[in-house]
């Protein structure tokens, strides 16, 4: 069969979402960000929110998220995305507003902004990429770094006596009356991606229906920071991250 015979719309089982542009991504091979970006683009398209969505990008590896998804974006200072999203949504209540934040951004420097936006029940979606490390700055310890896990600022592994405990911030956010959905997802295989997309879609629907704050945590890999091949990083995540950050809904109010 010739190539042009194969590429026919009736044979099409998968296509890149329209909102994803052709800019080459700066993410490392095996990184979870690319898949999560794609899910956002798909959800925005499927809900018909292309002209209504405003994304708030973080400081961290996803600082350039605005280079890949063709919607309007505001680039936040480190940790401040939930405060920015608060104002964007309150001043423009008909818009769809989401933040995209890493573990350092959301659970260290931006803890106050995250907790208070969630506690006010802002009608926004907080997308939380937890790979237990600071990727962009070169692999330093994150608030979610596991006990014993080495990083460049805890080269002998996270020591609880020295660094405190890894922070299960989603569990904390689930306690707040302002959140309607707090869920932990992953994107390391097709089944997980499918599940994660469903959760993300629910989160976006919640925001548009004025139900309060939805938090979607993606337990993720950072093969460069973890110094593993993508394949090994996925396995390491399943064996080490999932037991400490178990997947599933922490809170889901219909």
């Amino acid at each position: 069969m010739e190539e042009n015979e194969i590429i026919k719309s009736e044979n099409l089982v998968y296509t890149k979402p329209r909102l994803m542009n052709d800019n080459p991504m700066h993410y490392c091979p095996g990184c979870s960000h690319g898949v999560i970006h794609k899910l956002i683009a798909e959800v925005v398209e499927e809900l018909g929110l292309e002209e209504k969505t405003i994304g708030i990008s973080p400081v961290g590896c996803a600082v350039f998220a605005y280079n890949y998804i063709d919607i309007d974006w505001i680039e936040a200072a480190h940790g401040r995305a939930p405060a920015i999203a608060t104002a964007v949504k309150r001043l423009n209540p008909s818009k769809m507003v989401f933040t995209y934040q890493g573990d350092g951004d959301l659970a260290a420097i931006g803890t106050a902004e995250t907790i208070h936006a969630a506690n006010r029940g802002e009608n926004i979606v907080i997308i939380f990429v937890n790979n237990a490390i600071y990727g962009m700055t070169g692999g330093q310890m994150a608030p979610t770094t596991l006990e014993g896990m080495p990083t460049s600022t805890c080269p002998y592994g996270r020591n609880i006596a020295l660094n405190g405990y890894p922070l299960k911030i989603s569990n904390l956010l689930a306690q707040l009356d302002g959140t309607c959905l707090v869920t932990r997802q992953s994107v390391q295989n097709a089944a997980a991606v499918k599940k994660a997309k469903k959760a993300l879609k629910k989160a976006f629907e919640n925001a548009m229906n004025g139900k309060g704050t939805s938090v979607v945590e993606f337990v993720s890999t950072c093969s460069s920071g973890w110094k593993m091949t993508p394949e090994k990083a996925n396995k390491w995540m399943e064996e080490n991250m999932f037991p400490f950050y178990p997947l599933g809904d922490l809170k889901n109010i219909d």
Binding site: I54, D72, W73, R80, A83, I84, L91, E113, H116
Partner: protein, 360 residues
């Protein structure tokens, strides 16, 4: 609704003026001596009258970032605080300047450094006009010396901020914030509609429509060649502001042999100093900078050729005096007189200082 004459505090005038000038949002955190701004807005419930959003944030840091977000969507947004709180806002102010967003900030200054005192001061002059946050940026700085100007500068500040896509700040102090005075409040201006915002602010993140590229609000640019271009564009804008937006007031300067330079509450005290000095036969005038940046350099250069000496009168250890000296460039003697830590000078003290330091 029409304009209205009221008796109120400077802080309250800011709040009423914000509603009447059609502000879309205010985000603040309580701190003395300016909490009446947030309190008045909450009591007025403008969200029921004009649709204006008012929110008490969890911190000054959050409040300025709410302003950054709101401004990014083209809305007329503002925040207020006092010195220690404004220090916390510096990160956000730098980002707002770097992303070229319009907004209004109010600093009702108190004494520092540190937690300092809740009494009035003008010690944040350097912070406001020389930077405060990181990077090469400028804030359009308006210094009110009456409750009327507190109200008027809300409108002027927003106009200048949107004209130049640059943050503007009202640099007041505890006296002007707390003092009660007659004020003519402006008539109600309607808030802009979404359509008007999209038309007037094509850069605003109002949702990407199919007829344009995505709007991206950011101060980030990793390519140094482009980042330098961005900075040169900012500098060209600052130059335009310096050429077009200098504001000041002259009082009995025509025949002055000695010049007082003072802003805000200090300038009010200096009005009395001029009056008392004239009674003694001393030809003293007052120049009151209204914009602290852009600084009224040219008029000072003019007076440098006329007067025998200049006294900069400030509630600080000598900050604006440096800009006066730069402006006159050694042509005439320039000295400073100030009181610190929340103490406010009397007219007699100032006149005494003028005699000792300048007239001799």
């Amino acid at each position: 609704m029409d304009e209205e004459i009221r008796l109120m505090k400077g802080n309250e005038a800011i709040a009423h003026a914000a509603i009447r000038y059609g502000a879309d949002g205010y985000f603040g955190y309580p701190i003395t001596p300016q909490s009446e701004i947030l309190e008045t807005l909450m009591a007025e419930m403008p969200w029921e009258k004009t649709g204006m959003v008012v929110l008490q944030a969890e911190s000054e840091v959050a409040a300025i970032n709410m302003v950054y977000g709101g401004a990014g969507t083209g809305k007329k947004v503002m925040t207020s605080s006092s010195s220690p709180g404004v220090s916390l806002k510096q990160e956000g102010i730098s980002y707002i300047a770097g992303a070229e967003l319009p907004c209004l900030i109010v600093n009702v200054m108190r004494g520092g450094p540190g937690l300092g005192t809740i009494q009035p001061s003008q010690a944040d002059y350097f912070q406001t006009v020389k930077g405060g946050g990181h990077g090469d940026y400028r804030l359009i700085t308006l210094a009110p010396s009456s409750v009327q100007e507190m109200a008027d500068f809300v409108g002027l500040g927003f106009d200048l901020a949107f004209k130049y896509r640059n943050p503007a700040i009202i640099l007041a102090d505890g006296i002007i914030g707390q003092m009660m005075e007659k004020v003519v409040l402006p008539p109600f201006h309607p808030r802009r509609t979404e359509e008007e915002i999209v038309k007037e602010c094509p850069w605003a993140t109002q949702g990407k429509t199919s007829n344009r590229k995505p709007n991206i609000i950011t101060s980030l640019e990793l390519d140094p060649a482009i980042m330098e271009e961005n900075n040169l564009r900012f500098q060209a804008k600052y130059k335009r502001i310096e050429e077009n937006e200098v504001r000041y007031e002259e009082y009995m300067c025509d025949d002055a042999e000695f010049l007082l330079v003072a802003f805000g509450s200090s300038a009010r005290i200096c009005l009395k100093v001029v009056e008392n000095a004239r009674k003694e036969g001393l030809k003293v005038g007052l120049l009151r900078p209204i914009t602290l940046w852009p600084f009224p350099k040219l008029i000072l250069q003019k007076y440098a050729g006329q007067v025998k000496g200049i006294l900069s009168v400030e509630l600080n250890a000598g900050q604006m005096v440096e800009d006066i000296r730069l402006a006159v460039n050694g042509k005439v003697k320039v000295e400073h007189f100030g009181r610190l830590g929340g103490i406010v000078f009397t007219p007699d003290e100032v006149l005494e200082a003028l005699k000792n330091k300048i007239i001799k």
